[in-house]
Symmetry: C2
Subunit: 156 residues, 2 copies
């Protein structure tokens, strides 16, 4: 396969390899599996359904439900409903946008920030546990390439 090169300088086989690995990875990291385990014992409001909203909000900062929807991968109404659950649990609150009294900005409360910190630590620890056996330096380069892949890759 060394000869089957393309103009881009990358072999086609690599695309299939990455596709297969991604397929495996994605199957293991569904909400029903990863997010469910990750949010165990985090209270009633934080589960595999509300987690994406909470996480997206933490990443982007205070935003409206409509802005959060494409980032969370669900319909705007879904964000509203999940936000209501999180609001009832005191993890986020709805703030009136001072410039537009129609808009309700979703913003994390103190408890919400703490929950996100905890969840991030859990996930990072979970990943680190298996990266510990990697040769030094490889994990760093993998993280760098993964970051690049998500930033300018096909799923940007």
């Amino acid at each position: 396969m060394r000869r089957a090169r393309y103009s881009c300088g990358v072999e086609n086989e690599v695309g299939h390899e990455i596709a297969e690995a991604l397929g495996i990875l994605l199957r293991r990291t569904t909400r029903a599996q990863l997010h469910k385990r990750l949010t165990e014992g985090m209270g009633e409001a934080v589960d595999e359904v509300t987690y994406p909203v909470l996480s997206a909000l933490a990443r982007t900062g205070p935003r409206s439900a409509a802005e959060l929807a494409p980032d969370a991968g669900v319909d705007r109404s879904g964000v509203t409903r999940r936000a209501s659950r999180l609001e009832a649990a005191g993890l986020i609150r709805r703030e009136a946008d001072p410039t537009d009294r129609r808009a309700h900005l979703l913003v994390l409360t103190e408890e919400g920030e703490a929950a996100v910190t905890e969840l991030r630590a859990r996930l990072a620890a979970h990943i680190m546990r298996s990266l510990s056996s990697w040769p030094p330096g490889e994990a760093e380069s993998f993280a760098r390439q993964l970051r690049r892949f998500t930033a300018e890759g096909p799923f940007a």
Copy 2:
């Protein structure tokens, strides 16, 4: 952060970096998004719901619904239902297990194999399109590390 090392020899920051990148990646590669676009125009039976079953079956070879269930990430009954749809479309068929007359082995038909080939090519091409700008060799090493990460990683 150069000083905050752990016994494993990998910095904790890397765990957070990978976690964040994975989070972004996973949000972009939901069934509702990636698999939906991927299966567009592949006929009525092949959609984002039946795709995981079709893909898993292609990877593992002829298996029963119960064996396929954990690999597809859904309940056994879900596999049965999706398999029925794929069977009606002629992409798979149920074969009686010669050693156990209770068991129905799911096996891809000629058309099913063709569909999987097409889907794999689509995904690989989609990935390759953005990998083309990478320096030569980096895509290969990324694929290798990704493979390792899925094989012996936290989601194995």
